[in-house]
Amino acid sequence: MHLISPVLWQFLTKWLAASALFPPEASRIASDADALYFFLILISLVGFTLVALLVVGFSVLYRKDKHPEAVQIEGSTLLEATWTIIPLGLFMVVFVWGALLYFRIYDPPTNAMNIYIVGKQWMWKAEHPGGQHEINALHVPTGRPVQLTMISQDVFHSYSIPAFRVKREVIPGRYTTVWFEATEPGTYHLFCTQYCGTLHSGMIGEVTVMKPEDYQAWTAGSTSGMSLAQNGERIYASLGCNACHSGSPDARGPNLANVYGTKLQLATGGTVIADDAFLRDTILNPSMHVTAGFAPIMPTYQGQISEEGLIDLVEYIKNLNSNYRIQQTLNTNSISPAQSGTSAARMPGTVKQ
């Protein structure tokens, strides 16, 4: 043991033992991704071996000592067609396989539970609908599809969980989504894979996968006391949204109850599905998407609400299934606007000061 260098010894005993060679498979999609990976490795090996055999074999057979006179051959259409069509066929198999996998990873099932992710230099914020907030961490249950709705507050980031084989760019100004279904409890790496400035390599975290009952306990134990929708309601009140979106027949803005997921007729003639991205856009840039029958009078809220605040608002509008709540909010607001203003100011992090 002392005969070899201590560094080498440490290399052999400690590092090699702790070395990783293959990532854990911790989501339902992981084994499918790996299957494609092994197929790709297989055809690469076949291709590489074939080229290597040809080159080495011919080099041995037709080296100058053994084969002093070259025989000129123009080509062979048949052979060339063979090595065009066979690779093309294999590549097409890979294409279809890869496309199926892609559509599975990026098309979330409708029953997925939604978690919001906000990326900013250099941290990840996760916001659960129940009001649990996490930084550089994500807790998810096994056996349940989880959709991440993600947005960046500044530059491009990318949310990567290698053990789940999923990744998606997190972009400023638009929501992107990805989903997975975790299968193996444990903790896994979370990386930001898009270069985002100085501490790019520090924008990492841990994804904790828990059994459903443990997850229940975790959610109960780490709530901030207010759900995202409740936060959204406060912002809704403090910004005075209810002044126009009151739900009454003579209101100046469209009724927002049950609006989420419906198809809206726009003043420009087109239609649009009221999804998360649409709700966010209409708050920041109302004149772009005026609903038919309404005047373009809504002011922009660009720069007045943080991404987290927008998520709260979106979550509030998503869960709005009657006008009762709005009218309640309207009443408190019209009775004492000053009070609701101060209550909003007391909440840090929801409204930009």
Partner: protein, 557 residues
């Protein structure tokens, strides 16, 4: 159809070879005669010196990056410095080394001679392109000396436009200016190949080197302006905030990705196609055979150039583009892989029934075949959309493009430099030492970049200053390989310089190759040909060469 005929060619006795009295090197003397030259061969030498300079700067950065990654902790340099290191490594290696590497040096030297012309179509524009390259290099060096740039070579917005406080505009200007140097080179090649072919030199008698340069030139001329636009928009966004890429002003940050990759994907073909041209020449020469399926190899270059323009979105599969547009781009990516596969098999088949010798250029070419096959196949991994989700932005990508760009292009470049060194300088390089260098490069390369595939599948993101400790072993292997690789690159630098004075005199055709460039003296005359040759045979016609050398006495100027 196959016309079978036998050729025996004896390599000429180099002991009797003498240096010609008058060459392009001694035609004029003095610095001014070099800096104001219109001679494509001298400009090629100027390029060769300048890109070698930048190669070693870029290489030094690569060395520092690997040294930092020896340990998981961020302990050698600060995070900002690390970010600057990989940014400058990328910018220098891509825009100042790889893009001009083969075309501006070997291509510049050989295209006119191969088509049987006295110079390129626009000698002054050729010189201007070198000056633009130098200006671009000076801007880049200025950005480096003033404190560096840390955008990554991809200049991702809005990071590059709003969040970084480094010399982005200076570096962007450098790339903008260097881009025009590449446009002018491409323009010159296109016009020369179209208009200045010698009598009898039909398109299908052109060496494949010309075909691949023609294809690459099309990409340079059509693609580079888009990069220039993207770069100017970044500079304008930074300086006066025009808001094209700024979501707060209604701009679209993804637009930059589209513009940037619209050039930068074809750019990888700008880099690899000329290398493929070198490989065709080298493999033909050292197996003494015409290239198997000349037409297929020629047209596959053009196919790569055409398809190469329509695959850029495969860099953006995870960026929230429409699933269906991703589908189209993935399909086209699979198609662009086919011509490369055809070339690889045709090169391998060229060896069949050849009479193969293993000089250094051939060893590098074999290295190219092996590494390019791995690089190309791993490209298929990344073109498969579902696989790309897991692999993109990790070390798998890093390994993949280094296999293609370094394993492929740099091997081809070194193969070409060794192959045409006797032609360019009139002297041979030391054979044993150069074989050792080729082997060292190959081993060092595999050791450096193969572990990165495994790291990538583990999920290690690229551009990470620190990493989880369980990735260390593979990183240590990679760094060890980089050391070997560094030696492999230093060796040619040293012995090639040595050979300028002490190398054996080459004679006009030391390899008994068929190209027109080998039928004139080495080093060539300034005007290349005393009289414009008449091409009466196909490229790679070793039978013609055998008769030719039998009946003619080589004239020495």
């Amino acid at each position: 159809m196959s016309t079978a005929s036998n050729t025996i060619v004896q390599l000429p006795d180099q002991a009797t070879a003498t240096l010609p009295r008058r060459t392009y090197l001694n035609n004029e003397y003095g610095l001014k005669s070099w800096l104001l030259t219109g001679d494509h061969k001298r400009i090629a030498i100027l390029y060769l010196i300048s890109i070698t300079f930048f190669f070693f700067i870029g290489g030094a950065f690569a060395g520092l990056i690997r040294l930092e990654l020896l340990t998981p902790q961020p302990d050698l340099v600060s995070s900002d410095t690390y970010n600057k290191l990989f940014t400058m490594h990328g910018i220098i290696m891509i825009f100042l080394f790889l893009v001009p590497s083969v075309p501006a040096t070997i291509g510049n030297f050989l295209i006119p001679i191969m088509v049987g012309a006295r110079d390129l179509a626009f000698p002054k524009i050729n010189l201007l392109s070198w000056y633009l390259y130098v200006a671009g290099g000076i801007f880049t060096l200025a950005a480096l000396i003033l404190g560096g740039v840390d955008t990554g070579w991809t200049f991702t917005t809005p990071l590059s436009t709003h969040y970084l406080n480094t010399h982005v505009v200076t570096a962007a200007l450098g790339i903008f200016v260097a881009g025009f140097s590449s446009i002018f080179t491409g323009l010159n090649f296109i016009v020369t190949i179209h208009r200045m072919r010698a009598p009898g030199m039909t398109w299908f008698r052109l060496p494949l080197f010309c075909w691949s340069h023609y294809a690459a030139s099309l990409l340079m001329v059509l693609g580079t302006p888009v990069l220039a636009i993207a770069i100017v928009l970044v500079a304008l966004e930074r300086t006066i905030g025009i808001g094209v890429f700024d979501p707060a002003k209604g701009g679209d940050p993804l637009l930059f990705q589209h513009l940037f990759w619209f050039y930068s994907h074809p750019a990888v073909y700008i880099m690899i196609l000329p290398g493929m041209g070198v490989i065709s020449e080298v493999i033909s020469t050292f197996s003494r055979k015409r290239i198997f399926g000349y037409t297929a190899v020629a047209f596959s270059s053009v196919a790569i150039a055409v398809f190469g323009f329509f695959v850029w979105e495969h860099h953006m599969f995870i960026m929230g583009v429409s699933n269906y547009s991703a589908l189209v781009f993935s399909l086209l990516t699979m198609l662009v892989a086919v011509p490369s596969a055809i070339k690889t098999f045709n090169w391998s088949a060229t060896l069949y029934k050849g009479s193969i010798t293993f000089e250094t250029p051939m060893l590098y070419a074999f290295g190219f075949l092996g590494l390019f096959t791995i690089g190309g196949m791993t490209g298929i991994f990344l073109g498969a959309m579902g696989m790309d989700i897991h692999l993109t932005e990790t070390y798998f990508i890093v390994a993949h493009f280094h296999f293609v760009m370094v394993g492929g292009m740099l091997m081809a470049f070194l193969s070409g430099v060794h192959f045409w060194w006797p032609k360019m300088t009139g002297r041979m390089y030391p054979e044993a030492l150069s074989k050792l260098a080729a082997l060292t490069t190959f081993i060092g390369f595999i050791l450096t970049f193969f572990p990165q595939f495994i790291l990538g599948y583990l999920g290690m993101p690229r551009r990470y200053h620190s990493y989880p400790p369980e990735f260390q072993v593979l990183n240590v292997l990679s760094t060890a390989g980089a050391t070997v690789l560094g030696v492999g690159y230093l060796l040619p630098m040293l012995y090639l310089t040595w050979s300028l004075k002490y190398g054996a005199i080459a004679g006009s055709n030391p390899w008994q190759a068929t190209g027109l460039e080998w039928q004139i003296q080495s080093p060539p005359l300034t005007e290349n040909f005393t009289e414009i040759p008449i091409m009466d045979h196909e490229a790679y016609d070793y039978e013609w060469l055998a008769n030719h050398t039998k009946h003619e006495v080589t004239t020495v100027g």
